[in-house]
């Protein structure tokens, strides 16, 4: 009997502790600069690192960062390995069936094609895009030949070495590549997705609401726009 009571007490204690200081685990890819990347010190860095830390401060939560491969990032969220995805993930109806998104923290951003020359056939050529992204879906819809790689970096490398005629990715990701390299933007920018938001498990509405409120407050006082200017430059759409 004594044993039983002790066991229950220990249980109550551990549950109480879990509620008292909840550490929120933020999952990101770490390979999508400038949204998120691993800097040379080996830490997660980028717009979303700064944004996530600020959101946690405003929501009065303790947060830690976890990196996970892009293609298993949603399964690992729903099976509870971390509590939120903050990885440049566009809000799409398909994903909304499985996870719950906050309001977008960046406005619907443009996706662009980048290539080595501007005379590229965007509808009949070979276009590289990251597996499992809205861009990959879009390439299939245009009828172009889709060439898939697991990371955005490999998609860009494919254009450089001639495997693909052009790459389709978020414009913000391509801007630094185009500015510093031999590639140029081609064709029209295409608006895809409904902006980028944080994703939570559907069974976790309270935490989602906390972050939603924090994002709203950052939009209201202009810190969100300042972050976008800092990481994406003046040309990126703002609130």
């Amino acid at each position: 009997m004594k044993k039983l009571i002790l066991g229950t007490a220990a249980l109550a204690l551990s549950v109480g502790m879990a509620l008292a200081q909840d550490v929120v685990r933020l999952g990101t890819e770490g390979a999508y600069p400038p949204y998120n990347f691993i800097n040379d010190a080996g830490e997660v860095d980028g717009l979303e690192r700064e944004l996530g830390d600020e959101l946690c401060k405003r929501a009065e939560l303790t947060c830690t960062w976890v990196t996970n491969d892009w293609d298993s990032i949603i399964p690992n969220l729903v099976s509870g390995n971390y509590d939120s995805i903050i990885a440049g993930m566009s809000i799409t109806p398909e994903r909304e069936e499985v996870v719950a998104f906050t309001q977008p923290y960046t406005p619907p951003s443009m996706s662009s094609y980048a290539a080595l020359s501007d005379d590229v056939d965007l509808e009949g050529g070979v276009i590289s895009a990251q597996t499992g992204t809205i861009q990959a879906n879009h390439v299939v819809d245009t009828g172009a030949t889709l060439l898939e790689y697991p990371t955005s970096d490999e998609c860009i490398a494919a254009v450089r070495n001639g495997e693909a005629d052009a790459v389709l990715a978020d414009k913000d990701v391509l801007v630094p590549v185009v500015n510093e390299g031999d590639m140029v933007f081609v064709g029209e920018d295409t608006p895809l997705g409904n902006g980028i938001g944080m994703a939570f498990r559907k069974s976790d509405p309270e935490m989602k609401d906390k972050f939603d409120a924090a994002i709203q407050s950052m939009k209201d006082d202009g810190t969100m726009n300042a972050l976008i200017i800092k990481w994406m430059g003046e040309d990126s759409p703002r609130w």
Binding site: D71, P75, V78, V126, N137, V140, T145, E148
Partner: protein
Amino acid sequence: MSCVQTFQDYAFRSLGYGERLLPRSDFTLCEQFTLIGSGLVWNIYFGALALFFGFFLATAVAVARNSGAWVVRKPAEWFIFVFRGSPLFIQFFLAYQAFVLLPRNGIELNLIFTHITAETGWLTRAWAGALVVLFLNTAAYSGEIFYGALRSVPKGDIEAADAYGMAGWTRFRRIVWPTMLRLAWPAYTNEAIFLFHATTLVYFSGFPAWQQKGDALYYANYFADKTFNPFIPYPIVAFYFILVTLAIIGLFGLINRRLNRHMPSENRPRLRIRPQVIR
């Protein structure tokens, strides 16, 4: 959409025939079975062709390794060491990275009489590039197996061949080679099984998928990615591979019977499948 309709649309999707768009929502079990099965065509393509071409190179490598001449033996030893000593995963990746570095327009071979332009573009495509890697890889593994068997060819067989006046190529083709095959066959069957398993790595490391044409694991990954549920597509792949494995065991068992048909029945080794080689 009925299952027959799905089958018509997607049964040859991995080869580029049928419906161009993959299913995007409301995935049925039938779609998963059909598409993953369609991808299996590539696994069989890679496995069968690599095994077929690899068989000849393996024989050459085994003979070279058994050679007394240093210049012949050393390259064979190094070839076997490099391909058996490193993970296939890394080999695929390195091969792809190296193939994309080859000049796009082909290599100008300036021979004395004529100019030949060797096309290199196709090497970056999985159907050719991955096949080359798998071919070299299986040649190294089977070469080692054949070498071991070559060393265990009974001395008496060779002496008997000498007594009949056979020498050189005739002796090799009619005495040494059949015995070597017979001795190596159980281990070679394992090699075949694991080569087929290894084909799942093609689209997983290095080689990208074109127009969403991929192997069984590629489509399984697609479904796991879209349905966020790994517990259906991967077991389907497992199911298909069990079938492939059983087919290989059956086929190689038949060949084993033929190779051993001259042996007294109690001495005939039964084909025991033991995992000896995977990558």
